[in-house]
């Protein structure tokens, strides 16, 4: 158990360590001549106005909600797909009806315009 997953953990540590080293090197080696002008954000040469963390389009939330619904479908499909050749007709019919029910929901959202991006 440990021997199987240990290499993954080590790779995770090494990978993120490399990323952190790059970031620290960048902060440590770079020049430091900071001015107030330099610290303003880019806004096409204008003086930035208001906070950038304002409200944004609700469409992004729609995409996120649809993503969760269909991602759960994908997660349900995976164990079934891996065991597919060992499972019988019952599992086949069960999964097809699951996909069918989701397709009904998909068509409903399509007709309601949930996927439209004007």
């Amino acid at each position: 158990m440990l021997e199987t997953y240990l290499p993954l953990v080590i790779m995770l540590i090494v990978g993120f360590a490399v990323a952190i080293i790059f970031m620290v090197l960048s902060e440590w080696l770079g020049a430091r001549r900071s001015t107030a002008e330099k610290k303003t954000t880019y806004e096409s040469g204008m003086i930035p106005y208001k906070n950038a963390r304002d409200r944004f389009s609700v469409k992004f939330y729609m995409v996120a909600v649809s993503f969760i619904v269909f991602d759960i479908e994908v997660v349900f499909l995976y164990p079934w797909a891996v065991q597919f050749s060992k499972l019988g007709l019952a599992a086949f019919i069960a999964m097809m009806s699951f996909i069918f029910i989701l397709l009904v929901g998909y068509i409903y959202e399509l007709k309601k315009g949930g996927f439209d991006w004007d």
Partner: protein, 352 residues
Amino acid sequence: MNEIIFVTVSALIKSIAVVLCIVLLSAAVSVYIERKVSAFIQNRIGPNRVGPFGTLQPIVDVIKLLFKEDVVPAGADYQFHRLGPVLSLGVAIVVYAVIPFSSPFMMNIAGVDRLIQFGIAPNINIGILYILAMTSVGVYGITLAGWSSNSKYSLLGGLRSSAQMISYELSMGLAIVGILMITGSFSMNDIVMHQQGWKINLLLQPLGFIIFLVSAFAETNRAPFDLPEAEPELVGGYNTEYTGMKFGMFFLAEYSNMAVSSAMICTLYFGGWMLPFSPSLIGLHENTLALSLVQFAWLLLKVIFCIFFFVWVRWSIPRFRYDQLMRLGWKVLLPLAIFNVVATAIVMYIIK
């Protein structure tokens, strides 16, 4: 106990070797290929000053970026601003852990014969899940970078990018389901082993391959889908407010992601390291170092061709509009991917 020490040491050596030789080198090679191919397509010469044919250009770029000033905007959330590039690059690196680079070879270490395989954990039985989980974490890096900069362009770029990535992740995940059904395993190595000879998954899953390819382009935020960094509208996208190596880390992450996507396309659909003929045909035996090296070279050849393909597409196809991108993801690829799953299931059930 002895076994655990061996696993730890070998994994440590392998992961450092993979990070240094493959991740950073593959990013450098991808950058070089990108610049040379784009120069060729645009009838320019491209980098030719540093090193033979300009091959050292990416390394010089990294050194330059390291010595650039690190500017953080005044209103930025400092810790999240630092976390963004770390997450992006870290995730792009650790995905390499489950990709198999060759078949195992026999080696005598401290008096014990052991089977060693290029690749850190290619036999792990959650390979595909691990890759999907990691690419999901990659979305956070970009979203955080966009949000924390306190710049309108960054925020819009980050939002666009995250919406695009989660939309295409679905089709990507569904396209792999067909392969999982054929192979019956999550392990990347099992998927390669299943494609013995000419039985590559490309021939069994042509529709799945096209869906996966398009989704891979969108996932890596590359060309025709490079909306997050659409210069005319968003300046630079989520990395507008980044300077120095922190900007370079996003750059490295993009190219590293491109290389890892190419490696995944080759592993899942083109047979990975599996040679298209019996190894005895060229006088090599199973479980020898020479055979492993030949298989590694064969995989590398395919990966480089895939990277070339990525670059080729970038400089040939104009960018999508955002509503076109969303329409393609949700109204074309997603139904096609579901159809692919159902069709594969029915065909496999009939054959069985």
